[in-house]
Symmetry: C2
Subunit: 209 residues, 2 copies
């Protein structure tokens, strides 16, 4: 009786593989489909191995959530590039409403997690971190844009604006990711840019340069 061949992997690699497999499972099959066996199969590994890297399934899922959220933010942040604040804001907006951030799989994973946040304190904490990080990013950008244009505002006003912009981007992200609609024929990027410009009270044309 011959066992299946295997080879050792560095701890970080295995953990990463398991997390990726978890996210894939959730994206395709929902949270309920992310069973220990399914995840192990996708990671090319045996179910028992998971327990060597994660104390239990809850920890695995929480780790996957952290990885997922920080990946989202990193992608959006990378879309900023550098340059004047207005350009960076435009980059953030574009990144938020286009793939891979705006994408059905991403939305499914996000929703599955959010649906569990309320009943799982471990994930509630993980969520808070990621959410605040994103809104802080917007808030900072708003402040810089306003300063750049010689119209600085109070921290409270910047924060208020960040709440609104964050909401708008989240909502657009959901609508687009949900697909279904004929968003393919719409220019979602210009819709997002124009809306944000209007809210900020600046000329939409300024975004295009």
């Amino acid at each position: 009786m011959t066992r299946r061949a295997f080879h050792h992997e560095p701890e970080a690699v295995r953990q990463n593989d398991l997390i990726s497999a978890t996210l894939d499972s959730i994206g395709e099959l929902g949270l309920a489909g992310a069973t220990v066996r399914e995840v192990a199969y996708r990671a090319g590994v045996t179910p028992g191995l998971i327990r060597r890297y994660f104390d239990n399934k809850e920890r695995l899922v929480a780790a996957a959530y952290r990885t997922f959220i920080s990946g989202l933010i990193a992608t959006a942040e990378a879309g900023c590039g550098d340059g004047p604040a207005l350009t960076r804001l435009a980059g953030l907006i574009r990144a938020s409403v286009t793939a891979p951030v705006a994408d059905g799989r991403t939305l499914s994973i996000w929703a599955a997690f959010i649906g569990a946040v309320h009943s799982d304190p471990v994930m509630a904490e993980a969520h808070r971190e990621g959410y605040q990080a994103f809104r802080d990013l917007i808030e900072r950008l708003v402040g810089e844009v306003r300063a750049e244009r010689g119209a600085p505002a109070s921290p409270a006003e910047n924060r208020r604006m960040a709440i609104v912009l964050n909401a708008l981007l989240d909502g657009l992200w959901i609508e687009i990711s949900m697909g279904g609609d004929d968003f393919s024929e719409l220019d979602v990027v210009s819709i997002a840019l124009e809306s944000v410009a209007t809210l900020l009270g600046i000329d939409p044309a300024e975004f295009r340069e």
Copy 2:
């Protein structure tokens, strides 16, 4: 050996009880917590009974989703009241960002369902219906508001505006429902009203009359 007492209920009542119990379970325990036994317990009934009213659990969950979504829309619609379109729009906005629509339990249920839409075609269909109904409501309102103000726009422009407003309201709804933040000290209603007014290009003061 004595069985527990029970009494007959009209079909509609039992179905409604089971659906309510399902939504409560999902809201408190997540989708995974909405087991047949849990739902039956909350409905004060025996697990086997569920099968008399719903072919299987999938159907029960789908029915619960439909009930949930149409309830949400009905609540929002009721917030419109009657009167000039601008007033009705304000009512819709207010209803969207305050309880019981904006609420942690509501968000949890919504997210749990959305997380399953991608992997469950039955729910994908149920979702489409509800989503379009809400956006159509906004679209109609936008058209009326603009006509009312002597600035009618093309259907395409109204639709585009509806997409943006829907996104903004969805996003605010999520932020508020997620709680965590210090939204309690912020006037979410005025934030929502002012943002919508700005996007529509009208004076925010007009909402307050």
